[in-house]
Symmetry: C2
Subunit: 346 residues, 2 copies
C-alpha cells in the first residue's frame, strides 16, 4: 500500500543533492497499478504492455522561450508540461498512459520549488489517469528546462494526412484565449496564483481599477494560458485527420493541408471566440480574430470529417478543398492565407 | 521505399525555420519497419507493440554541465545522448527499440550542426537497431539542450534490488577510462575528430611531444569519453541485480546496496584498469584507481550473481555482504567507503 506523501521541508537542492531529490520525487509519484512493475527508482521504468498501437510523443519547455518565471508559478509549469504532451496524444485519437519528465534545474532552487512543480504535474496526471514513471534531474546553467515524454495507446489512430476535399473543418473549443491570456500576463508582469480555475490568493489585477471590467473577465483567459486543459474527442469514427492547435490555427491547419495534399477554406466569422476574449480585445482595441487565427497554445483539437458525419461538441469553421488556402470574411470577400503562427528559429 | 537522404546545404536555422528543420530530420531518420506505423512528422509516433514488458528511460545532457563544445563535436554529442540511454536499457537486461530526441538549439546554429548531431545519433542507432521516431526541436537561450527518451523491452528484467549476501560483484569492462579521457580533453581544450575509433583528422595532441607517449595511448581514453559504446550482458540468467556505471563505481554500487538492503566489499586491486589508463595516470602522476572508483561515465555494467553461476566477459571485483561497505587494498587493509562520485546539485 502506498504511504501518504509528506512534502519535504524547504531545503536548498545543493544540501539534499540529486539523490535526495530523486528520493522525494519517488515517494511523491508512487503509484499502485498492476501494469506498472517499477516507476521512478531504477535505470528505467518497467511496464506491462499489451499488444496494440502505442503512441509516443515528447515536448520541451525552456525558460525565456516557452515561459517567464516572473509570471508563471512552478505549479503551473508542471501542469502545462504534461498538458501539452497529453494534447499531442489526444490529437492522434489516443489515451495518455505513462509520463517521463526530465528537469534541468538552476543550482539555487530549493526542494519546495520542485515539489510545487510536481504537484502541478500530478494534478493533471490524476485528472487524465497518467502515471509519472520516470525521468532525469540535473543541474542547469541555462535556466529551467522541462522535457516530457508521454506514452499512450489508441484503438484507432488519426493522422494529419487523411483530409479529403469536401470534408468539413472543425475545432473543439474557442481560439485565441491563451494568446490573449499571455498578453495580459505580460502586462501584469507577476504571478497569478490560480490553480483549478480558482485564485489561490487575491491577484489584485490592475485591470479591475476604474470600473473597466472585473477579474471574472480575464480569469478564463489567464487559465487557458497557464493551466490549459486538453480534452479528447470522444467519438472519432469517421474523422479523417486531426491535429492539436499549439502553434496557431492557420499554421496547424497548414500542416493538415501539407500532409493530406489538399487546400482549405476558413470562414473568419465561424471561428469560435469566447466572450472574455471579445470583451478584453475590445478593451485594449485589439482584433480578437487575429488572436484566434495566429495566437497558438490553444490546445484544442482541429479535425476534418465528411459532411455526412454527425459531430458533437465541435464547431465547423470551414471546408477542405482540392487546392489553395483561403480566408472568407463576413462580407464574403476572399483572401489567401499562409502558415503564419509561432515557429521556432524564425 | 526510403529515398536516399541528401544532406542539406549549410543554412542558418533562422532561415529554414523549425518546420524546415523538422522536414530535414524526418527525411534523415526515415526507417522502414513493419512495427513503425509513423515516425517523425505527426503529433506522436505510432508503433505496433506486442504484449510483454516495456522499458522506458530518459536522460538529458546540458551544455556547460554535461559537455563543453570547445572539445566535443556535434557528432559526438548525438552519439553520446543515445549511448547513455541505451546503457540504461542494458542495465535492466533489455533491448533498446525506439528513441525520441528533444533539442533546444541556440538561434545562431546552422543546419549542418544539427545534421552532424543526427549523424552521430543515427550511427549508434544503426549499431543497436534503434529507430529514431520523434522528438521536439526549439530555440534555446540557455545553451544546447539534448533530452532523449528510449523505449525498450525485456524478456527478463534485472532490478537494482535483488542482490543477496554471498553474491559476487562483477563489472563488464575497465573503469576510469572515460574520466581520464575527460581530463585529457580539458588539457587539450579543443575538438578531437574521432568517429568510430579512428581519427578523422590528425589531432596533433601536445602529449606526443618529447617522446612521452604516442596518440595510441590516449585514443581509447578519449573515445571512451566522447563515443561510449555500451554493451549488453548476453546471458542474464542467475544475475540478481544490475546497474550501469554512470556516476562512478562506488556511487552506483551504493545504489544496489541501498535498494537491495545489503553491504559490499570491493577489492581495489581487482578493479580492471586499461593499460592506457595506467600509462596516462603514471605520466601525469595521478592515481588510476581513484579514476576507476569515482570517475563515472564508464557505461559498463555492474552486476551481482551467486557464486555458483558461471560468468563470461566480466571481472569479479568483490562480494555482497549483509552490512557495511568496505574497500580492501592489496595488503588486505580494510577501509569503509561512501557513495562518492558525481552527484548533481552537490
Amino acid at each position: 500500500m502506498a504511504k501518504k506523501y509528506l512534502p519535504p521541508k524547504k531545503r536548498l537542492l545543493s544540501d539534499i543533492g540529486e539523490f535526495g531529490l530523486i528520493k522525494i520525487l519517488r515517494a511523491k509519484c508512487e503509484v499502485s497499478s498492476r501494469d506498472i512493475i517499477r516507476g521512478i527508482g531504477d535505470d528505467s521504468a518497467v511496464i506491462n504492455i499489451k499488444t496494440g498501437t502505442a503512441l509516443m510523443t515528447s515536448d520541451m519547455m525552456l525558460e525565456k522561450i516557452h515561459f517567464d518565471l516572473s509570471f508563471t508559478t512552478f505549479y503551473q509549469l508542471g501542469y502545462k508540461i504534461l498538458a501539452v504532451n497529453i494534447s499531442d496524444i489526444f490529437a492522434m485519437g489516443g489515451t495518455p498512459r505513462y509520463f517521463l519528465l526530465n528537469l534541468g534545474i538552476p543550482r539555487n532552487y530549493n526542494s519546495e520549488d520542485i515539489d510545487e512543480l510536481y504537484s502541478g504535474v500530478l494534478k493533471i496526471a490524476k485528472k487524465f489517469r497518467v502515471a509519472v514513471v520516470g525521468g532525469d534531474t540535473c543541474v542547469s546553467k541555462g535556466g529551467l528546462v522541462l522535457s516530457g515524454t508521454l506514452i499512450g495507446d489508441a484503438a484507432r489512430v488519426i493522422n494529419r494526412s487523411g483530409a479529403r476535399p469536401g470534408d468539413g473543418i472543425f475545432v473543439t473549443g474557442t481560439l485565441g484565449d491563451s494568446a490573449m491570456g499571455l498578453m495580459l500576463l505580460k502586462k501584469l508582469g507577476r504571478h497569478v496564483h490560480i490553480q483549478n480555475s480558482k485564485f489561490k490568493k487575491s491577484p489584485h489585477p490592475p485591470f479591475t481599477k476604474g470600473g473597466r471590467g472585473g477579474i471574472n473577465d480575464i480569469l478564463p483567459l489567464l487559465k487557458k494560458h497557464l493551466l490549459p486543459d486538453p480534452a479528447p474527442l470522444k467519438n472519432t469514427s469517421g474523422i479523417t485527420s486531426m491535429i492539436d492547435i499549439s502553434d496557431g490555427l492557420l499554421i496547424d491547419l497548414s500542416h493538415i493541408c501539407d500532409e493530406s495534399n489538399v487546400g482549405a477554406i476558413i470562414y473568419r466569422d465561424k471561428i469560435p471566440l469566447s466572450k472574455e476574449l471579445v470583451k478584453t480585445a475590445e478593451r485594449f482595441s485589439l482584433n480578437p480574430v487575429q488572436y484566434a487565427m495566429h495566437g497558438g497554445e490553444d490546445y484544442v483539437l482541429l479535425f476534418t470529417a465528411p459532411s455526412g458525419i454527425r459531430i458533437k461538441n465541435a464547431v465547423r469553421i470551414g471546408n477542405i478543398i482540392k487546392k489553395g488556402r483561403f480566408l472568407i470574411d463576413a462580407e464574403g470577400k476572399s483572401a489567401t492565407f499562409k502558415a503564419e503562427g509561432y515557429e521556432h528559429f524564425k
